[in-house]
């Protein structure tokens, strides 16, 4: 009970800075998610239409390499190129999120059976009609699950932005570790979870609405 009241005091004293960290966290992670979806999903769809397997595997390999770079090294590389703060954090996280989105969308599109595509062709659909009326609706649940998984990853990875001066809830966690304050660590962690779970719920809703439509 005493613990709870102490924790509430911490909130009442620090709420403005806590909310500021949370706002920074949301700003960074949502920017990354939107950009990542805007880049990866069209690219993956385009890749399923590509004839050359070489270029496909080249793109996958590049995305793979980005994901294997240790995060602290990635941030260190970013500084001379883009400086400190929001931009390098977003770019670094974007590079990490390419692969999971690319892979999920690509395999979702590949899962559309060739019989359905042939049938659509037989009905006289053009390439674009086929894409929007047949392939995308069939692949949509796969694409969406890729987006949901990646979004949760990105929100957790965004804690790293604190290492490069971009703020976010990672700042609160690291400050708690350095300053021997369990409340800060707990608050930073729990708020990141709250953001991730709420976003996942919202995306789930969107998925259902689109499916019904």
């Amino acid at each position: 009970m005493e613990l709870l009241s102490e924790y509430l005091t911490y909130w009442s004293e620090d709420y403005s800075s806590i909310l500021e960290y949370m706002y920074e966290h949301i700003l960074i992670s949502f920017t990354v998610i939107i950009l990542a979806v805007a880049i990866s999903v069209p690219l993956a769809i385009y890749m399923t239409k590509m004839k050359s397997n070489k270029i496909k595997s080249l793109i996958f390999n590049i995305a793979n390499v980005f994901q294997t770079i240790p995060t602290i090294a990635m941030l260190a590389i970013m500084i001379p190129i883009m400086g400190i703060g929001f931009t390098p954090a977003v770019v670094a996280l974007l590079l990490y999120s390419l692969l999971p989105l690319l892979r999920n969308t690509y395999s979702g599109m590949e899962s559309v059976s060739s019989e359905i595509i042939e049938a659509a062709k037989g009905m006289g659909f053009s390439t674009f009609q086929r894409l929007f009326k047949v392939e995308l609706p069939v692949a949509f649940p796969y694409v969406m699950s890729g987006i949901r998984v990646t979004a949760v990853y990105i929100i957790s990875w965004t804690t790293l932005a604190a290492l490069i001066g971009a703020g976010g809830l990672g700042d609160l966690v690291l400050a708690g570790i350095g300053y021997n304050d369990q409340y800060m660590i707990f608050t930073g962690t729990i708020l990141a979870i709250v953001i991730a779970v709420s976003l996942d719920l919202v995306l789930g809703r969107i998925e259902n609405i689109v499916k019904r439509a």
Binding site: S17, I79, G83, I84, L163, G165, D171, A175
Partner: protein, 302 residues
């Protein structure tokens, strides 16, 4: 058949490996102790010096656990009996551990309080300082300081509203000795304050993204990037004097180790430690090699 015997052999090897880990006697029949160090290189050098001395003069061995994130994790390990020795700093006593500690920037008082409070709470002996001091400090580019004739933190006020501060993630949130306290003591703040990884902080000031950083006084990057530490003319930063600590139960049973740790009191000055860190961090030499070379120079190791 071959696969089967290979499997059996690897299983046996694995069992030896696992049981080997649980064995805590050294090759010479002594005990194996554990020493803890945080992420900073000065802590690692200091426990390596302890290890080299103990292994040279006794039959015991010392295993080093390093890169612990902060002092709280070291104390947790001491409390659980996992760490027997550690490198710690006197100023930690103000780091949110005790409610009844009296904040002071006086080095002797800080040391006495650290020895008393931590000594009682964790049943450890907090030795007198090794000699080097790893304070927080505020540093700027030397060119800037010379051009504008800035020597101390009071003089920096005039430029502060156009400067971006880079600091570790904890300093912004610290009460007494952090950014809040700094603003109260000096009466100004910087245009922007950003928390980040310490290694990246130096990249940032070298790169021109930052104008001011909170450096530690032993950091060799101060030399590497030609930064100037400004004088803390209002004595705001608390002293962080490094000390070795040992669990009382260990040194009570091994008085020879107690003597060895006592022999490191006053051994390394701040300048000497900065040089040693420079060798490790910038010249990329091993901590063991650099520490033992230093001990040989001091005539404490053959």
């Amino acid at each position: 058949m071959k696969i089967k015997s290979f499997l059996v052999a690897s299983l046996v090897a694995l069992m030896f490996l696992i049981t080997g880990c649980g064995d805590d006697s050294s090759a010479d029949g002594g005990e194996v102790f554990t020493a803890a160090a945080a992420k900073n290189t000065d802590s690692k050098i200091n426990v390596q010096i302890l290890k080299s001395l103990v292994e040279d003069q006794t039959s015991h061995e010392v295993e080093i656990v390093e890169d612990l994130p902060a002092s709280a994790q070291i104390f947790a390990g001491i409390d659980r009996g996992e760490f027997d020795f550690a490198n710690l700093f006197s100023g930690e006593v103000y780091n949110n551990y005790f409610d009844d500690v009296e904040y002071s920037t006086n080095p002797d008082k800080t040391l006495k309080q650290a020895q008393k409070f931590f000594g009682e709470k964790y049943d450890i002996k907090w030795y007198d300082p090794v000699g080097f001091i790893n304070n927080y400090s505020i540093a700027v580019n030397r060119d800037f300081a010379e051009k504008n004739n800035v020597e101390n933190l009071t003089q920096l006020e005039e430029f502060a509203d156009e400067m971006v501060l880079g600091t570790d993630n904890a300093w912004i949130e610290r009460d007494n000795d952090g950014y809040k306290g700094f603003q109260e003591t000096y009466g100004y703040k910087f245009a922007e304050a950003r928390g980040m990884d310490v290694a990246l902080m130096y990249e940032g000031i070298a790169n021109g993204d930052l104008d001011v950083v909170t450096a530690y006084t032993v950091d060799p990057q101060l030399k590497e990037y030609d930064l100037k530490v400004l004088k803390d003319d209002k004595h705001f930063f608390p002293p962080y004097e490094a000390s070795l600590v040992a669990r009382n139960s260990v040194i009570d049973e091994n008085s020879e180790i107690d003597k060895i740790v006592e022999s490191t009191v006053g051994l390394i000055s701040t300048e000497e430690m900065t040089d040693l860190i420079y060798e490790v961090d910038i010249e990329k030499r091993s901590i063991k090699e650099v520490s033992e070379e230093f001990l040989k120079e001091k005539g404490m190791l053959d």
